[in-house]
């Protein structure tokens, strides 16, 4: 009975009432604009209530709160279709108008069509998108392994170079704050990398001193990370959590409407 109640309540609150509201609001735009706010209020309140009320219809495995997450996935599926339509429209327009970078749009569309075709073919032939019975990859998997994964890794590996260039810019001692940042970063790096041991390697008499100095720097780096850095991070996290809670209250009360495209007070 609980299971049925949760499902019925969710369908009523988030599906039937909005549809009726939209139908009624065809002639009343003000009413129509309130429907998304109402949906936002219910969708915001259900997870909060489920934090404190462990009733099956609300928090159970098939309760309203987990079911709401499933609805989000279904919604995302439909929204993804809209997204694909948008990609095809925008890139087709670029190609037809020969806009700047139209060639890349063509490559994107070819990639989209070929990969989709392989995926649909795998589903149609019941071969799937992984490996075939003889262990060889399906065409979809082949495209993924030969094109997609290497390209993805390439972009991710760029991060190392960007990190170096950003660090070079950030660590220039332009003012007091930047100088403090530079010193702290230098100490942390020295503490995290066994640089002294490496430098002292050819000189055995220096090994004990290098080891002791390295240990000291390691401890100092840990203290910098744990105390000033940890305190600052905690401050940011506490402030952000309160800000997020305040924002959530504004959304639930329908005060914050910017995300709906309604603007404030409309």
């Amino acid at each position: 009975m609980n299971f049925d109640f949760g499902r019925v309540a969710l369908v009523l609150v988030l599906a039937v009432v909005p549809i009726i509201g939209i139908a009624l609001g065809m002639r009343a735009p003000a009413l129509r604009s309130r429907i998304p706010i109402l949906i936002g209020i219910f969708a915001g309140l259900i997870p909060i209530f489920s934090l404190y009320i462990p009733k099956q219809f609300l928090s159970g495995p098939t309760g309203m709160s987990p079911r709401l997450d499933q609805w989000l996935i279904i919604l995302a599926g439909f929204a993804l279709l809209l997204g694909i339509v948008n990609v095809v429209q925008n890139n087709s327009r670029k190609i037809s108008r020969r806009e700047k970078g139209w060639f890349f749009a063509a490559v994107l569309l070819i990639g989209l069509l070929v990969t989709s075709a392989f995926g649909i073919w795998g589903w149609w032939t019941k071969m799937g998108i992984g490996f075939m019975p003889d262990g060889s990859p399906t065409p979809f998997k082949w495209v993924e392994d030969r094109f997609f994964q290497p390209l993805q890794s390439t972009i991710f590996s760029l991060l190392a170079f960007f990190m170096a260039s950003a660090a070079f810019r950030a660590f220039r001692a332009r003012n007091t704050e930047a100088t403090i940042l530079l010193i702290a970063a230098g100490l942390v790096m020295a503490g995290r990398v066994p640089l002294l041991e490496f430098l002292a390697a050819p000189f055995p008499p220096l090994h004990p001193s290098a080891s002791a100095a390295s240990q000291f720097l390691g401890g100092l780096a840990e203290r910098i990370m744990d105390i000033p850095n940890g305190a600052a991070q905690s401050g940011i996290i506490i402030g952000a959590a309160l800000g997020a809670a305040s924002m959530a209250i504004r959304v639930i009360l329908g005060i914050e409407r910017g995300y709906l495209g309604l603007g404030q007070g409309e």
Binding site: I53, N86, G258, G261
Partner: protein, 423 residues
């Protein structure tokens, strides 16, 4: 249970019973009488001449059962569990365990559920069905007696009937509920206070002051404004805050007639962003300037999205880039690429892990709570400003509580920190 007439384990009779039907042999009576007379005469006890009994081990001491056994619905859960508690007997044989049995309707036959080590004192039966009556039995089970080979168990203790059910309050979260109610009350009172016409001071946030400057620069240069709303969906509060800021940015671009580009990774965010931008252009009375491709979908893959947006930055060289929302590893790639194009960059994120990258590469950064205060700051709506003030009051209370907790903990009192813990 021992049957009537059957010998109880470990209680072998001292004298074996004569077999029924066995023929009685004639006993040599004279020598026996002579021996008896001699024995009596010499003072020997009669027992010395009795027939020797079978050798039998001493009976092991009985095992005491557990006490204070209760079986109740597990409090504060979503049902489907019964909590059993008991106290172990003061003495337990080596290797003993507590055996838990359950009987359920209609047969009410006992079936073993678990063997629990002594000292546990409780067991949660998570296999119970809601609304079904169960009875539980526990007993101490000791290892089999090596001498007799008999199982050694204590007398059982049986619970009353119990059924599992879902509860109305999750125990262990009372402090969280009280804090939430207080916080909501503070925010609502602050909103009411702001609505009554009181002036609310909000400190200067340079990142938000620079929004108009960045859009103005893009307008002067005739270049695009890029707004990247992170890569998370609308179930993330940072994305909601980002879309709210996008509304204000879109109003400015609509006002100045500047081109806006909002590439999206998440499909739900994409739909919301499009509605926000469309609404902003309508609100500014410039629906003619709104184009569907302003808010566009790129891909659901993180690095493919990063590559596409970075490439667009390099090709189109926007004058202003907003990186506001929830970012992961792509934050530095995007911000550093934007930096290389010479655009004014305004970033905003509440998660401290990516903040250093934005601080190193962007001109202005909205740190933590500034991201959530942005819509109040930009709109200057009294209601929104009131909620920001309520947030500040709550933060002040938390700081005071934190200081009090530090002071108490320094003197060895952990009461406040234990009160703050939640499940």
């Amino acid at each position: 249970m021992t049957g009537r007439g059957k010998r109880r384990a470990g209680t072998a009779p001292v004298f074996p019973a004569r077999r029924r039907g066995a023929a009685a042999r004639p006993a040599p009576k004279l020598p026996l009488l002579l021996l008896l007379a001699a024995a009596l005469a010499s003072g020997f006890p009669a027992a010395a001449f009795a027939i020797a009994p079978e050798i039998s081990p001493p009976a092991p001491p009985p095992i005491e059962p557990p006490t204070s056994f209760t079986a109740l619905d597990r409090p504060g859960d979503t049902g489907g569990a019964v909590l059993l508690t008991w106290k172990d007997p003061p003495t337990l044989p080596d290797g003993a365990a507590i055996e838990i049995l359950r009987s359920e309707p209609p047969a009410y036959e006992w079936s073993s559920l678990a063997l629990v080590k002594p000292g546990a004192g409780k067991y949660e039966d998570a296999t119970a069905a809601d609304g079904k009556l169960y009875r539980y039995e526990i007993r101490v089970q000791a290892p089999v007696d090596a001498a007799t080979g008999a199982a050694r168990v204590s007398p059982p203790v049986v619970s009353d009937s119990v059924s599992a059910r879902d509860n109305w309050f999750r125990t262990g979260r009372e402090n969280s509920l009280i804090a939430s109610i207080l916080f909501v009350a503070i925010v609502l009172i602050s909103i009411a206070w702001a609505r009554s016409g009181h002036e609310i001071f909000i400190r200067r946030i340079s990142g938000l002051n620079a929004v108009d400057e960045a859009i103005g620069r893009a307008t002067e240069l005739g270049k695009k404004v890029f707004f990247i709303p992170g890569i998370q969906s609308m179930d993330d509060i940072q994305t909601i805050a980002s879309i709210a800021i996008l509304g204000f940015v879109a109003r400015s671009t609509a006002r100045y007639g500047t081109d806006l580009d909002v590439p999206n990774k998440d499909p739900i965010t994409f739909v919301s962003a499009r509605e926000a931008v469309r609404g902003a252009y309508l609100a500014e009375g410039r629906p003619d300037l709104f184009r569907e491709e302003m808010v566009n979908y790129v891909t659901y893959d993180q690095f493919a999205y990063t590559a596409a947006v970075s490439a667009r930055m390099v090709r189109e060289k926007p004058a202003a880039i907003f990186l506001i929302g929830y970012f992961f590893a792509e934050s530095l790639i995007l911000a550093e690429t934007g930096q290389s194009t010479g655009a004014i960059q305004i970033a905003g994120q509440a998660d401290p892990t990516q903040l250093p990258f934005f601080v190193a590469t962007c001109d202005y950064v909205l740190i933590g709570e500034e991201l959530y205060a942005a819509s109040a700051y930009l709109s200057r709506e009294p209601v929104l400003l009131g909620s920001t003030r309520g947030q500040d009051i709550a933060k002040g209370i938390l700081i005071l509580l934190g200081l009090a907790g530090v002071a108490l903990a320094s003197f060895g009192n952990t009461w406040l920190s234990s009160v703050m813990k939640t499940q």
